[in-house]
Point group: C5
Chain length 372, copies 5
């Protein structure tokens, strides 16, 4: 129930408790950092994959805005070298390599340190990945846990010069990245929404034990989403109120739009959560209804036949009619057997009539017809 | 369970994640924009349907207040042309064509951008529709997803000059539209309230599987309402506190009244929600009661007849009385069979007495009588 | 389940959605306004029932404080005439005739407009009635939906000059009216509290289907109370903080006492609500216990007699002992029948012993003894 | 379920609704006021029981600090005389004789009026008693509903001069009284905590109907405690922030400690409440488990023996083998009876095997072993 | 269910209610105080165990920062002597020896008094221990209830000079201790998280009575954690906002990191709590499903065989065919017995067909397959 990049690692800390703050203990299983750079200005775009951190220095100075992206957090020295080059504080770097942070915004001197969580869903397993972003004058550095992300559209916009991204500064780039992270929540929420509706129909049609299990998983996923999104909203809000010289007045108008999106995400998550919690009740009452129906069938059959069987048993007794005139004279009556049948049919019919009046016979059927 | 203008689309976003902000990707299935204009002043009213956006220019200048209404968001160029004519910001226009926004108020330069959600209910399906309103000096532009709305009474008031609407400015018109949107919630809430009472009686009378399903649907509808109304209240409140020169002191007194109405709507929604959540408990305990009753009947019948059948079974055994004097001498007794009957009646009567003392016989009946 | 002056009307609005604000559409079924006046000063009291609104003018000027009370909201012209005489704003008057308002305090120029809800309970049906109060310099105008109210003690105090009411101004009169409204909640809450305790004992003694229904009604009543009381508290608090020249410093000390009372009412309502929601659990577990007990009886009886019946059935078979020495030789044994009985008693006894050890026999009884 | 000094009276008001504020309608069943005085200074202590209020005057002036304690609120004239002597406001005195107040602090001119609730528990019945405290320069007046309180340790400290109570002023005395009231909550909370643990074990061992009833009572008691403690915390906090000249800076440090204690009490109450609400679930699932087990036993027995009994029934039929060779030839077979037995054992064994595989046989046992 | 250093003592107070504040009544069962000292500066570290409090004086002056740690609170005079040496207020010392405090920060003159709770888990029993910390200029005094703590890594860092601890002042030491306390929560939360997942799988596989009990224990543990962690967060936050000269600007940056960790702990606790409360529902619906399945088996078997047994019973009756041609002529029919069998098979087959159509036969199986 766990996976390499998924749910559980978000609860893990790798540094031993009590280690000095700022200690960089990278996860030995984490991928080796792969560094890629996009530098751009209104006129031109330079894109490059870098092996050695020192290559960066030249690249950064060549263009108005540079975006350094690091995929993989598996090598402490590389990360430290990078951190020193861009003036990244040691405590912030510690947060980068412990990828279980809640979204947040922190100011370190002249830089803004932004943590957000990207979301992905494969094979019905929801997982989150931390993206750490450092925003400085003329550059943005992002760290991700694994290769592969939801930022490709942003890179396309830079390459093709769509929108105003090439004209704007590093603050707008940071906004564009955050916005892409938030936007990636929507398709997943729609997926979950569709599953919710499937589950609803399943409960109406043929609920089974698997249904509970799916509701439970959905609940956990929404819980994970919730824990991820709320801090994200706070972080974007903090950014909006940030009075840093890094954030231009214009970018903040766009951030307001991004903030709006986080609120929409929260709205959807909370809505899904409310519906999901209603589903459990819906399921339980559905099961309870079916149980009731089963019990009714049993009761009707048993209540009709148990007395009849008793009467049949009586006339199966062997009291000797010859020993005494009082011993089962019915057995020798001319109409004994036909009277027995009349008795049976009368008792059975009366009981059926009583059940119908109690609504046990028609009730179940009507419920079926209406309920479906 | 979904419909073309209804619940689900409110969760859909049509722009691909990561697209540049302000991108106008209109929904290909959305209706083509139909533009109608009402210009009015204290003296006169001009009403016209416009094919070409450029016709508007003359119309707007002819009257103190002009209301341009656009039904359908299916054509980007038309919308963009309109936006440019009235100085509408690109980000705001993006919100217009993505009709899944929460109600809100935003200031763009000299204009106020107001988003609200209209509600409608047909064939027991609740749906919401976004109305986007731009309030400028001397004009109001509204965008709706589909033709047909709840604003006809406002148009009537303009045409007939009822109330002070013709005397007032564009801010009062915006208030009147908002107020009409809020007022349209009341009849629907009353409908839901009546359904709630029907459900309550249904549970008391003949709860069936369809009842759960209806409670569940009601819960979802109220959830949708709640998600729609709370932001509406916040938006009206924001408008109330807005210190724009667009909003006259007098209109704000009327807005206070409108704000009062949103609070009443919320009050009713929350009240309905509380009652609905109590209904599920009510239903479950009702089902549980019925199950209990069914079980009692089964137990009474089975408990009485099972021992009797056993005894009848004994005297149906074929132990040979001739092989030994100890073998079932009862069968040849003179009073064997009558004694058997006395035994049967005694056992049955005793058990019935015990059940009555336990309250299993009278209990059910009394409960019935009282409960209904 | 509805009544003419009761619960449901509080959800109804009579004005068509979208009508111009301030429209006075009175309910055609509402009683015709009956106007009564009490004018008083330290020295004297004048009490009169008025047919024509114009008679009021003289009365008002004759005494330091005048209280005009209107019972019934069924005639718009009368109300409008009155409103004009006392400078009542049109929006406020609209709120008066739509008697579904939440309690609130609004300032209109030099007047305070206070809305509160009075409560009454007849034949176990809880209902609320709106009282609208206008406080001006030297006069108080109150509007009620129906004749009959909880303000008689205030009138008595004016007539008999008890307390300081005759010495004080119109603000103290307004306080006295509000205080009487709040005080009328207490006896009803005590009634509900007693019902709660009755229900508790009923669940312990003989819970039946009617119990659920009563719990459900109680829940709804408390919900209604809650919705009524919270705004009342806010309104009194708003009045307390009001910096109007109408409210003397001294009256505000008394208002603090009144505010204290609203808090006590809320406290009791919330307490009752908490207990009521616990009651449902209590009831369900009680039912569940009884079901368990019923099931145990069934199981004990069935489990003992079903095997016995089987064995009796065996010796009722007709395998022909004469056809083969292997065919049921037991039937011809000398001690066949006695051995059968020994077997029966042994099996029955063993099962009883097992049940006792499982606590199924003693358990039920002990539970009974302790639980009651 | 009610008692003379206990729970229910806290919901009762004795003044008729609408009576003028400040009316003193004492409860005719309340005890007659018994007045006792302790005057003290660093050097000496004077203790006296007083019959006539006028005796007090001399006593108060003899010592730096005087504590007048009144047990019983049954005589209005005595109380009024006392109130006048110590400058107690009429509204405050009204609150004193209506002993259903929430804890609060109010300033009346130069005096502080503090209301708190003392708690006691006898015979498993929790009850609260109001203590009203007036703090003035050099004196403290306390009113209690009944003789007997939790303040004896404070009196001891005054008598023996332990701590700094004799050196400090009347504010410290007020603090000491409040602190004693708060401290008295702890032993009762510990008692309830122990009951909680007993209940937990009871549910694990032998839950019965009495268990639900005890959980329910515990819930109500904790609800009462909660309603009592939260206002107490607010009151102590208000005292802490009070900028009265009556409260010395030093006493406020001690009040902070007392405030800490109220928070601990709340913490314990909320903790107990959380555990109690979990208990109900625990109990219900426990009962549900047992029901399940009972059902399994019934099903196993019935499912095995019902088919066997049917087969035995077949060979008990009387089809005449002599009438036709097709009529029950088995009865005359040589191995008919032994084959029947083999059939029986095979069917029974197969069913048992199936049940074991379904985990119905081992499951119950294992659960038992683990669960306990 | 309790242990000497565990859960229950956290609810106990040892001082009698009403005792004068500052009374030191040490627990007679508490261990005798063991005092150890670590003094350090950038250059050197001195570590010593002290028997007599007076030895401390010299030690403290020898090094820039001194950390005095006291394990065990069993001897009042020792503690008082220590308190006097370091200027510890009597009320604070009272809090030290009553180790049931919530985490808090209090300022006493020039010292900061910090209370936190350490957590440990042994043999599946969660327990907390109070650590009281006094921070003064150049020294830190810590009091713990028992020997053994989670601060060893801090001591190692001091000894080995790792990080900046040796260069920094006593404020940094206090931070380091707090941080170690907070960090110790993570491994325990991970343990609980793993147990949660085990429980989830257990419910899917083989839920039994022990499962409920484990869920209940987990709930209590998380409740305890929650009650412990929230005040800790508040305390760290208070420290962060503290404007004491004791706290350097630099240490506060580290405290912000520590605060972040407490938020993460809370996040995990709340997440675990949410999942746990979902588990109970999951379990109950799982049990309910199984019960349903059991009922279905019983009903199928009983419903098929009860009518068949009845028919077999009929032909076991002894009506005398010789007495009348109407008496059971079937018994003498040539094809009587074969027709009986055909009837049996037809009835049985029809019932099975009906059950299959109702989904009672396939349903269970499919649910199984899907659910696992």
């Amino acid at each position: 129930m766990t996976d390499s990049k998924g749910r559980r690692p978000s609860f893990r800390r790798r540094t031993a408790p009590g280690a000095p703050p700022g200690t960089l203990e990278t996860d030995p299983h984490a991928p080796f950092p792969a560094i890629s750079v996009i530098g751009f200005g209104p006129e031109r775009v330079v894109e490059k994959t870098v092996q050695d951190v020192r290559e960066l220095e030249l690249l950064v100075e060549g263009t108005p805005v540079t975006w350094i992206n690091v995929d993989g957090l598996g090598d402490a020295p590389t990360l430290i070298e990078l951190a020193e080059m861009f003036g990244i504080h040691r405590l912030a770097l510690e947060d980068v390599v412990h990828p279980h942070q809640r979204a947040k915004v922190e100011e370190y001197g002249e830089e803004l340190f932004i943590v957000a969580r990207m979301i992905s869903r494969e094979n019905e397993v929801l997982s989150t990945e931390q993206i750490s972003l450092f925003l400085g004058e003329g550059f943005v550095v992002t760290f991700q846990e694994h290769p592969g992300d939801c930022l490709e559209p942003v890179r396309e916009r830079i390459r093709k010069g769509r929108g105003r991204i090439r004209q704007a500064g590093s603050d707008y780039l940071a906004y564009a990245i955050l916005d892409a992270v938030v936007d990636a929540y929507f398709p997943i929420l729609e997926e979950l929404g569709e599953e919710l509706e499937e589950l609803e129909e399943e409960i109406l049609e043929i609920p089974d034990r698997g249904t509970v299990s799916r509701i439970h998983t959905l609940k956990r996923d929404l819980l994970l989403l919730r824990r991820t999104v709320w801090p994200l909203r706070e972080a974007v809000n903090a950014l909006l109120r940030e009075e840093s010289i890094l954030m231009s007045r214009e970018t903040q108008i766009y951030l307001r739009d991004c903030y709006d999106h986080t609120i929409q995400v929260i709205d959807m998550v909370e809505n899904h959560r409310d519906i999901t919690s209603g589903l459990m009740d819906f399921y339980l009452s559905s099961v309870s209804n079916r149980m009731n129906e089963v019990m009714k069938v049993l009761t009707i059959i048993a209540t009709i036949f148990i007395p009849l069987t008793f009467i049949a048993g009586i006339y199966g007794m062997n009291f000797n009619p010859e020993a005494s005139p009082w011993n089962m004279p019915e057995l020798n009556w001319r109409w004994g057997y036909p009277v027995f049948w009349v008795l049976m049919v009368t008792i059975g019919g009366t009981l059926l009539y009583v059940f119908r009046r109690k609504g046990w016979l028609g009730g179940g059927g009507k419920g079926d017809a209406k309920g479906r």
